[in-house]
Amino acid sequence: MRTRLDWLLTSADIPYLTSDESLPDSALAEQVRQLAQYELGFSQIFKLDRRLRKIADPARYAGVLAPLRLAVLGASTLDHLLPALRAVGARHGFLIDCYLAPYGQYLREIADPASALHAFAPEVVLFALDATHLVGEQISDAPDAALDATMERLRAAWRGVIAGFGAQVIQQTVLPRMLPLMGSNEHALPGSPARMAAALNARLRTAATEEGIDLLAIDDAAVHDGLAAWHDPVLWLKGKQEISPAAAQHYADLALRPVLARRGRSAKCLVLDLDNTLWGGVIGDDGLGGIVLGQGSAEGEAYLSLQRYALDLMKRGVLLAVCSKNDDAVARAAFEQHPEMLLRLDHITSFVANWEDKPTNLRRIADEIGIGLDSLVFVDDNPFERNLVRSALPMVRVPELPEDAALYAGTLARAGYFEALAVTREDRERTALYAANAAREKTRASGLDITSYLESLDMVLEWQRFDAAGQQRIVQLVNKTNQFNLTTRRYTDAEIAALIADPNALALQFRLRDTFGDNGVIAIVIGHLTPGGELDLETWLMSCRVLGRGVETACLGVVAGEAKRLGATALLGRYVPTERNDMVREHYPRLGFVADGADHGETRWRFDLDRPLPDALNISVNDIRGSAT
């Protein structure tokens, strides 16, 4: 059994990973951040570890891979954890040099100034002591005295490390692997090894605060993952490996979190998407009353649970931000007016809702707050947005999310981005401080070239005339789309059926496929020939999910071709403003239409079909006639 780092991407082929020098040191250093987004396979840990140990001139890459001397002290087999510590260290920006003290010699090594440990001069010392070493395997006659003695020994060892090296001390808690002798009422036998392990873990927590050291809570981890994921009794008996090799990567990740936290490198700001992340549905289309949130439904409760977790993080000093493709006013209205919203505008330090790409907006958020991009965690249900951010801004931490919104908060918690060691008054006041910063900072636009990312998506736009099979979905789309909708004209079932039957009507449906899969029907265009030989577009609507990907331009190519086939010489477009569709005010001019009059806020546009069409970059277009005429 293996513990899963399920907030990371998995891949059999992690880009750039080799164990030999076909990957130059400089390229390795450059790619380390991309690498950080992947869970490593078992042999990939060894591959990366071997490659890292071949770096010829570590000092040269210290800016990306900061050298770190880590001593691991224990009383059983720990060699098997070192490759994972070094490999995971690189993912977190460290080039770790490990020192493993000889089996059970740690007290002597700490005390003896001539020891190899002293020569190594560790910056971090990890006490990875096994349960047998700490509490024994027999019933103790005097459990309290035994625990007192163990704690005295540990405190002395920690103090020795702090005094001798000024190193950060990380103490592993006791893995709860001792078998119960009583059962649920194990406390009735205070000297049982299982009971002593639990008691020692409680004492470690008190002592850690008093002595200023940090814990590696593998007892909590084993509760989450199940003991079998962490410990294999066969390997303990055979080779004294308490932590199963299969858990090494998870162990290393947990061990390095306090190291990051001590160095101020934990994330500081949680950036949240809105639609289908903080609530179910699309606020721009479904409206304030249509989104799913809050008591009364399991789904609504699920979204609320992420809001609650975010709010609790904020209360202990994590900043919150919003990054959403939405109309600013529509998005804010949810926070101001929806009765079930736990998060309110004054909890959000930086609120960015617009139609620009998310990497640009994340830069804006970081600038506004005055923190680095590497301090951001970006949570979004949409894999397109997640991968765009990962490729454009690899320093931003982007968790993979499970399908079910009920599990979002748990995944975020397990990822440990916000690892912290103590809660200070400053933590609690930080939110106010940064809010002031954000208010002062002027937002500024920044350009981002996402062309190469879009190319990598292999987008295919498939189109066909309306057909009976698609009728239900078409009726649904034309009657619920509010944002990317030029005229917001609604249609009955019968009207759509009439369009299906009319060979002279332009009635087109578009689907988009990409590397993430099939996005379904994402655009509808409806038009009629006028007596003057122009094609009047009475409806053009799109799903906001595919915005900013050049899909409109590709659609225009199809519309123009079909219009010509019907004998038209020009396209006529109309924009009828509503409260919801401000985002498409410039839709037609952006596509090269020229102004053709206006009244009562409505604007009209014209595109002569003898003119060249704008290029639809990165999208191939596929005509699937299917059952259409």
């Binding site: 164990s19 396979g41 078992f42 042999s43 060894f46 087999t77 055979k238 080779g239 490996q241």
Partner: protein
Amino acid sequence: MQHDEIVEELTGIFRDIFDDDDLVLRDDMTAADVARWTSLSHINLILAVEDAFDIKIGSGDIEKLTNVRALLTLIERKAAR
């Protein structure tokens, strides 16, 4: 997966797990021929093979897989399913 591909993949695993860039796999190779192939690193080898070929190796088989031929035979049998 073809025999040659399996050998290539397994060679990479042996090189990574036993930390030897020049290691060349031979059918008759046993733990005695590879300096770092110990009873402890054997567990790493098995886990790496399970992970890379997406197979599960039963605990009864683990002890018997101390030569390359036995490993290859088992991988070919399990990966073919």
